[in-house]
Every structure is written in C-alpha cells, then in structure tokens.
Amino acid sequence: MRAPARDTAGRRGGAPLSAFMRWLGRAASLLAGDARADRVVPPAGFTAWLTVFTAGAMSFLAVFALAFSLAAGRLADSWSAELAGTATLRISAPPEQVAQQTAAALAILDGTPGIAAARALGAEEQRALLEPWFGPDLPVDSLPIPQLIEIVETPRGYDAQGLRLRLQAEVPGAVLDDHTRWRRPLVRAAEWLRVLGATSALLIAAAMAAMITLAARAALAANAQVIDVLRLVGARDVYIARAFVRRFTMRSLAGAAAGTVAGMLVLALLPEPGAAGGFLTGLGLAGTGWLVPLAIPPLAALVAFWATRGAAMRALRETT
C-alpha cells in the first residue's frame, strides 16, 4: 500500500530550520512557476486588475510614506546636530552700553572652558536673520535690536548654569540661550514624524494584504467548480493553492513595481530644496535613500504571497 505523503512529511519535520528550508523550497518552486498548474485556473479579469491596481496604488503611497519617514529622520538628525553644538548670547542694553557689554561678554566667553569660539554678529548678518520676517528694507541701525553673539561649543560642552551666573554678575544685559528649550520639542516632533511615516508604510502593507485577501477569496469563490474538479482528480490543497498564490504574487509584484517606479519618478520631479528650503521641498529621497523604495516590490510580493496562501488554504479547508 502506498504511504500517504503527508505522513512521511510529518515525521520528517521537527527542527525549525528544516521546516524553514522546506518552506523556502516550496516558495522557490512556487515562484519558478508551473505553466500547466497555472492553466487549470481560468484567468479572471476583474480580480487580476484589482490586484495589480491595489498593489500599484499602495506601493505608490508607500514610496511617499518612506520618503516622508526618511526626510523626517534627516530633519531630526540635522536639527539635533545643528543645534546641539551651538548657543546664542543676546545682549539687550542701552545703545551706549552695547559695545562695552559685548566686549565684556566676549572676554568671559573666551575664558570659559568648553567654548570653542564666540563671535559677535555684524549688522548685515543680523539684518539677514530678520529679513525673512520683516523684509529687506529693515533699518536695523534705527531699531533697538539686541546684539547677538554666536557661541560654538567644544564636543565636551560647557557649564551653562555657571556661565549664566558669571554673565549675570558682569554683563547685566546678557541672556544666554543654549537652544535646549526649543531644540528638544523639535527633535521629538521630527522623531514622531519618522515613526508616523513608518507606521503609514505598515498600514499600507496591511491594507494591501486585506485587499489581496479579498480578491483572492473572490477568485476562489468564482472558481469553486474548478476546485471541485481538481479535488475529484486527486489534487492536494497545495497544488490548488499554488495556482492562485503564484498568480496573485506575480500580479502584486508587477503592480508594485509599476507603482514604485511611478512614485520614485514623482519624487525625482519634485522641486529642489532652495536656500530657504523647508521640509516639504526636502521630501525627496537623497543618496542611498533612493535604494530603499526598491525593496517595496519584493515586500509587496511577499505580502501578497502570505495573504493569498492564507486565504486559499483557509478556503480550501472549508470545503470537503
């Protein structure tokens, strides 16, 4: 008497590694394809286009979610790096005392451990800082604008509290701003944006899995008679599922590839971030970041593989 294949396979199992290798072998043979197995299921136009379109649209959105996440990450890094090593000293004093207090402050800063450089900003630099807010014709000289001193820290940093006390005693109009107050919320916000982008990508993958599951179940229901015939002639569940799984996986791969290319093209055509480039114009991918979306089509195919396989095996188990 012939031994049923399932039993021998069951006894062979045990080690997770060998189970994984068996699964890998099955997945490889699935993707390698079987023209005859594919033919047993008649091509269904509606579910085919639904799957391709869903995979394409979701991948297009996933490119933007990824770009958003990567841009938020870059922003967080840049804010963190740019602001972490600098501080600003603001001197608000009567006009006749500004020069004197500036000199005193610079002398103090010069002798403070942890400060690499300190430099008073010139009138032109201060005008440039205010220009985005007040326009180019701002009469800086006639306005009581405080003098700003830019401080660059050493990697070890300085004792901000000690410096404040010294300045308070010797330069009464000086206010030290080490950027901590507003740097932290900004960095935190950028980190959240990054998490939001990654979460969006995961939600897109989940939505795609749900759509493909529905399409696969619709295809299985539409082909109930085909499945009945295949069972009658001795087809195992894996054989029947394979025809559906391979078809949906390949369709998703094709749709996702098209959607990813379209998304990357749109990103490439976004305007370059200018000198005053904000977050939105910096949304595009940069450097090796362009390689990241290339992972979307194979991931979409993997999602489709699992979604269809799960749907097919569940549906087949529900039948005799």
């Binding site: 008497m1 012939r2 049923p4 294949a5 399932r6 039993d7 005859r36 197995a37 033919r39 047993v40 008649p42 008679q225 085909v226 009945d228 015939v229 295949l230 069972r231 009658l232 002639v233 001795g234 087809a235 195992r236 569940d237 054989y239 188990r317 005799t320």
Partner: protein
Amino acid sequence: MIELCEVSYSYGGEALLSDVALELQPGSFHFLTGPSGSGKTTLLKLCYLELRASRGEVVFFGRPASQIGRDGVAGLRRRIGIVHQDCRFLDHLTVIENIALPLDVAGQPVGTRRQELDELLAWVGLSRRRGALPPELSGGERQRAALARAVILSPDVILADEPTGNLDWEMSLRLLTLLIELNRMGKTVLVATHDMTLIRQAKSQVAARVLRIRDRRLQAAGAEL
C-alpha cells in the same frame, strides 16, 4: 479494496443510509440500483470520501477512513477513478488537457505519456476530438472523455454515478462496453444506475453483482433481474 462496515450516513438529522455493509473485491463488477433519491450517489460519495460516514467505518485498501487526512484523500482519489453523470470538466481546457489533468495533478510529466494518451483517446473513440473544448462535445463524447480521465492514472477502482443518465441507448451500450473492458483488465467497477435494461444487458456479458438500496439499506437485488 473498499469495504463499508455497518456504515450509516445522516444529514441534518435525517438518516440517508443505515447499516450499509459492502465489500468491493479486486476485479469485481457491481451495479448499484434504486429509485432516484434512494442514496446511490451518497453511497458512492462515501466510497471516494467526498462524504464521511456518520457511523461505522469505510476501509480503503486496508486503511480506515478515520485515519486518512486531507492529503490522504487526494492520494486515495488517484487510485479511484470517478465518472459523474455531469462529467465535471474544466471548460477552458481541451479534451486532451482535461484527460491529462490527473497526470498533472499527480506530478507525472504529461510529455512522456503522449503515446499512452493517444491510445486512451483512440480507445474511447475521441482521437479526432482531442482539441475540442468540453462544451463542444456531445453527451456520449463527454461521458467517454470523463471515463478516459478516470482511468488515465490506471486506478484500481472505477466508480461511475449514473454514467448513462443523459445518453441514448446506443451510447449507453458503448460506454458499458468500455466499463466491461476495464473490468476484464482487472479493475474493480461500481456503477450506480437506475437503468435496469442496461444492467440486464451487462449481466449477459460480465459476472456483475447487483445491489439495491431500499429503505436506506443495501440489499442484493434478485427476482426482478
């Protein structure tokens, strides 16, 4: 080969078969008869595990059905050729592709068995219709194609459910001849039919045992034949 031991089958609380005992010996020929709705199809379905007995045990090639899992059922159906009244083809595949389907499903290369397929087509008289699609076939051609598909894997048992139900007398006789030939090759054959004339015709050519379902029970048919 297939043995039903005191098998009962109920559906929705209603008993359709009760205490059925049947043994299909190798090389035997059985007719199963009874009025429409008597349970012939149900009994056949129990014989290829499309249905599972509510009580009792069905033993396939020495193995109880209760020990046969899903993959085991698939393996079993490769040893049991089934012919239905409605044939059940894949209408988008040609006749030759439908007949070769069990080979494909069993992982046997179709290409190396071309000659066997050609001989089988010739045997059932469908050589000229090999490229036709099932909806293009006549009733008799469909039944012969279904028979060819049922025997392509050289099964031990052939189960036929009202195979001549839609055929005229001439076509019925032709199909019966094919079934008798299979039996002479050593195959076990079980044919469910309500056509008593066909059974009488067969009994003149083959030592067939005739069983009848009456009041949900299986019994040997006698005097009316």
